[in-house]
Symmetry: C2
Subunit: 316 residues, 2 copies
């Protein structure tokens, strides 16, 4: 189960009644934040999701509307009693940006681990009570597999996807027929072999077929490059920037390296995904709902994001 909340839905600048595009994922009580524009900590307060359990912050890129909330958030997390380390993941340049940013913050009672990545996969696992990046990158035992994609924006920018795998169904009747004692069942269930009375039992002898997990993709800010289509394949939820609602704003979208609703819907349509959630709306667009048809005519299951939009993704 993955609880997804869009804390803000705006791009460019924070405005009254619309926070900047920031998302929070809640997995087994631990939280991952994606981007942190100015005022994100206020949006977190409105959402009552709390500061203490934010373990990982993923940064898409270093434009102000995606990072200027970090000094305040990190300070507030310190004031909220955070002591365990947090991990900040972002594109190349993260360490330099964080150096400038942390020079503004007087004291933090926790460590910050910085992870610079490009196109790669990371295994996230709950260890010592917090969600961490696994060093050995053993995706088999990960709680969440995080993948990134390099996008096409006016600065280096990453798309993110989060995969929670699902174990195949365990068939106790098969285990009983093979006379495997119950104490070995959980080992087989977790995909490991068992040696019992000189005989090797393999997981596939007691497990059903592969089952689809949960996949969430987050793509902002970018032009609609074709690599996105592969990257978002089979997402339960595809969160995508739709900076411009009006199809006629295509020139602005091209110039500023953003997307129209129509372009985001075309990616969704080709990406074999279940639902499209649009966000990162231009400050000039007062009511994004007015342009919904520009997307839903192409991809029916389109949701126009709004601050506080919440969805729980479960196994099918």
């Amino acid at each position: 189960m993955l609880n997804v909340t869009l804390l803000g839905s705006g791009g460019g600048m924070p405005i009254p009644n619309r926070h900047l595009s920031t998302m929070v994922l809640n997995y087994k009580g631990r939280q991952i934040l994606i981007d942190c524009g100015e005022g994100s900590q206020v949006a977190i307060r409105k959402n009552h999701s709390g500061f203490k359990s934010i373990d990982i912050i993923c940064i898409t890129h270093f434009h102000g509307d995606h990072i200027f909330g970090l000094p305040g958030l990190l300070s507030t997390m310190g004031n909220s009693g955070r002591e365990k380390s947090i991990t900040i993941i972002g594109p190349t340049g993260l360490k330099k940006i964080m150096k400038g940013l942390l020079s503004l913050v007087s004291y933090l009672p926790y460590d910050i681990k910085l992870v610079e990545i490009s196109r790669s996969k990371l295994s996230l696992k709950i260890k010592s009570g917090i969600l961490q990046v696994e060093r050995n990158n053993n995706s088999r035992q990960a709680d969440i597999i995080l993948s990134t994609l390099e996008l096409d924006h006016s600065s280096i920018c990453l798309g993110y996807s989060f995969n929670i795998s699902r174990n195949p169904k365990f068939h106790p009747e098969k285990a009983m027929a093979l006379n495997i004692p119950k104490e070995y069942w959980s080992r087989l269930q977790s995909g490991k072999e068992v040696l019992y009375k000189d005989k090797i039992y393999k997981p596939n002898m007691v497990l059903g077929k592969e089952r689809k997990g949960i996949k969430l993709s987050y793509i902002t800010d970018t032009r609609p490059i074709k690599e996105i289509i592969d990257f978002i394949q089979e997402s339960n939820l595809f969160i995508c920037e739709g900076t411009y609602g009006d199809n006629e704003d295509i020139e602005k979208a091209e110039k500023n390296k953003h997307m129209t609703f129509k372009e985001a819907a075309e990616l969704a349509n080709n990406g074999n995904i279940k639902e499209l959630l649009l966000t990162h709306f231009s400050t000039a667009m007062n009511n994004p709902e007015l342009y919904k048809e520009n997307a839903s005519n192409i991809f029916k299951n389109t949701i126009i994001g709004c601050d506080g939009y919440n969805k729980v993704l479960t196994y099918e």
Copy 2:
């Protein structure tokens, strides 16, 4: 005339429905901002005071709730078409802090002049359409005299006062009686001597007595040191931190180097000021109005600040 708006009234952290303590002064269409916590640019939008005419930003100290809004504000000012330079005034350390802060901002289409000060006076004057710090510090010709005071906080911190002087009344009947031609009247009015037909005419020959100007004082964050009493003398408006409303929070006030309402009112009472405006309320204080009597019992003309509180100060 000086138009004063309290953009926010909170201290510590931004919370829903209360922006951080920030003030904006409007003098002849040009603006001075005092402090800039996270979200100040949103408060400016709510106030419809605009970004283009902010010429000077005064920083009291470098704690996050007073500066974390700067990267966003400076970026938004750039996006709003600001091209003329702006001046940022603050205590020693300003240049170092601004170096870290500006490393986060990609590009600004205007110059930033940094002025580090301690206990001093600066002359502000409208020149080339913007309010600037006068290099020669000629207070006689200044539009506004800015004074600072070193306060007693957990970090180096400055109090500010803004003085707009008022010219003495000009008496045309005296000028006529002395047969001074009209073309010289404005020169005498502005305090300069006139040489006419081998005779020197001095301003005091045609001007009335000194008249009180407008004085505004801004004191946050600090303990109530006695130097504040002299500094705020004869202020039309004394804006002062009142982090804690409850008298019983005096220990917290002492520990965190802040003030209770009562302590701020005692300063006001000794400072020969007209009105006290309290601000910088602790996030734990939901309704500061509940504690108003703790101040107004000591100093009657006490106003409990709120986001958007506006007052126009005029000559008496």
